[in-house]
Symmetry: none
Subunit: 414 residues, 2 copies
């Protein structure tokens, strides 16, 4: 069964406001085994609304409208849905009376246009809204011969969420077959998206019962797996089996199977082995330290370090000999290694990390182009250094460099 | 002319991810006088995509698809749009060659499925994507006898935005009637939203011809002003008049009237006066340095500094006497001031900045609760220190602290 969520309101078609209710509703629907197939935002316009409603009713079994149930002339959801269904609205006098009472309690006289909120679509059940004046509506009907469940919900999140939980979930639970959805996420670092997909597609395609979504960005490829089944055990077993096959294939590129971020995993590994990290960053300018310290409790595994943006500070804080910079350049394998080794020793840390590169847009040369980054890690016994050439703009280069830096620490700890 | 924006990707139909590109595109379209009439999210499903494309083409003059242009089998935007139009795809060999070259430069062999990204809809123009492998496409055509402009754009924001600005805006500007829309943005730092609105609402309500949107978050309140008029001069005059009234009211809380970020403004002030900054950060863990170095050319005004997360590193890199920490605590006015003064002197900078606080969730006490942050700035002649108590979680506290730190530097330079 596919659901469709329609947010009604012209303000959500400006650059400033966005529908967020649909994230809540999607989570709720998924818990019932229902997948959201479409989301639409439409303005306060009768023709647009009617058209969107017709399209939704023609393709989705559950159609949820949010917003446009208020008392103003702009509020047209009731009218638009009724028109799409080809049925009338009737004014419910019990609702009008209740509204008069509500206003009287607050010692305000009810504006006459408020009565509009008592218009009910023919055949619909009224869903009381304890947190606002606009009630919701629920209708079971047919459209083009197909059974349809239609909900009209108020837009304000605290009204919508309460009404959904009390009035809609119980109704859906009763009508829908019991279903269970299990999901998991595999995260990999520093694997190109196309390579990740080429290696995994032959595997996940063998599991058509598990929906696999591949998300890539910022040096990270994530595999989101989801399975629907009659029981939770069955759904979980499908997801677990595919996850384990994918992990076998991707091996140590996988850093997380429970949703953790790369910085959390690095922190976890450091803590497990009771090690302390220190960093010396040039081109990332503090981004590696910022990501590590975003993890609550990071003082248990992170000492700090230096942002050695100028050459003088590379010498001052990380003891890089000016002659080394002169001989090899500030962006070089030698300097990266010395940053890692020296910051470890100076800070009395167990692991030292050094990053130096050219983030651009200026500063690149033929020999050392924008995007060239050297990253080194040292534990006092062994060192590792990698050279990378990241494409993209300053922000992207810095982000990928910080991702590579964290991944290098992770691999050294594995 | 109405535009419609369609985000393609099953991940945006989960509870975890949301389309955000449409906000950027809406702003860009509004600048051309084009209103967005519909926004849709559809999954990686050929039939759904084709249906959505048909509905959009039947009602909107400009139809923009985002995402689904990658190399995987899930990427079906090209196929879906071609099917909706009833035309074929052809493989563009120039694009295939360029992709091979791109991979070769990075010394990676190209996976064969990448060639899919070179499939072009019959009649479409290829829009080069300088920041990724998937090019965009642009097609002028008719649908049910009506003229239609169709854009296919890559999903990653940094690719989409660059491609839009370089390839799509110029084309639309040429086709559309000139529209006179003037807009401006006033940004303020460290002003509570309710105070900002209470002070400005009586002013902007007197200008009903200027659309004013107040946005708040992360220690920043922004006033977005927009006016439409018959001529650009007239529109600009309305916006400028209101902007100047708001600036008079908000005074030095306003840091930007041309869209610059706070870190850009700080960099601008430092450069103007030929001053160099150094920072010593504890609770922000590198976030201040990261924000400053996100500005291209920041090496001209930023030397670097230290992430003094542990107490030992406060002593090692910023010369904080252990006795001072013992007497006042690491989170204290005294330590913040010493961090600012010492890092300035040690780094041979003109301005020093020190940040120390409790970002939580653990580590708070009755006397020094989570959210308590001291921020100090020193120029060698005078010092300033502020104490703040920020509400919210770890991320919010760190973000606000970095905002306050940058604002303190700005105010010292004013």
């Amino acid at each position: 069964m596919i659901a469709e969520i329609i947010a009604v309101g012209s303000e959500m078609l400006t650059p400033f406001r966005q529908d967020t209710n649909s994230l809540f509703l999607t989570d709720q629907l998924n818990q019932l085994g229902v997948i959201v197939g479409f989301k639409t935002v439409v303005g306060d316009n009768f023709d647009h609304l009617t058209g969107v409603a017709r399209a939704a009713l023609s393709r989705s079994g559950i159609v949820i409208f949010m917003g446009g149930l208020g008392p103003t002339e702009d509020d047209l959801t009731r009218e638009g849905v009724a028109a799409a269904l080809g049925v009338d609205l009737r004014r419910d006098h019990d609702i009008v009376t209740a509204m008069y009472k509500r206003f009287a309690e607050r010692r305000i006289s009810m504006p006459s246009n408020n009565a509009k909120q008592a218009d009910v679509i023919e055949g619909a059940i009224v869903l009381p809204n304890k947190r606002g004046t606009a009630p919701g509506q629920y209708l079971e009907t047919e459209f083009d011969g197909e059974p349809r469940m239609i909900f009209l919900l108020p837009g304000p999140p605290h009204e919508l969420e309460a009404l959904w939980k009390h009035e809609c979930m119980p109704r859906l639970r009763e009508c829908l077959p019991p279903a269970a959805i299990a999901s998991t996420v595999l995260k990999t670092a520093m694997l190109p998206e196309s390579a990740a997909d080429a290696r995994t597609a032959p595997i996940y395609k063998k599991y058509p019962n598990v929906e696999t979504t591949v998300l890539a960005g910022q040096g990270q490829v994530e595999f989101h797996l989801r399975a629907t089944a009659a029981t939770m055990d069955e759904a979980q077993a499908s997801v677990d089996e595919l996850a384990s096959k994918l992990e076998d294939e991707l091996d140590d590129a996988v850093f997380s199977t429970r949703g953790e971020s790369l910085e959390e995993i690095v922190g976890y590994f450091l803590q497990m082995r009771n090690l302390k990290l220190a960093v010396a960053e040039s081109c990332t300018g503090g981004m590696v330290a910022e990501r590590i310290t975003s993890v609550p409790g990071s003082s248990r595994f992170f000492l700090g370090g230096a942002v050695v943006y100028s050459n003088d500070l590379k010498t001052l804080f990380a003891d890089i000999p000016p002659l080394m910079i002169e001989a090899h350049g500030a962006v070089s394998k030698e300097v990266a290694l010395a940053l890692a080794e020296n910051i470890r020793e100076i800070c009395n840390a167990d692991i030292g990390l050094g990053v130096t590169g050219i983030a651009g847009p200026a500063g690149g040369t033929e020999e050392k182009p924008v995007g060239l980054v050297y990253i080194a890690v040292s534990d006092g016994k062994k060192n590792e250094v990698v050279q990378r050439r990241f494409p993209g703009d300053r922000e992207r280069i810095r982000r990928w460099a910080s991702q590579q830096a964290l991944d290098l620490v992770r691999r050294m700890l594995m």
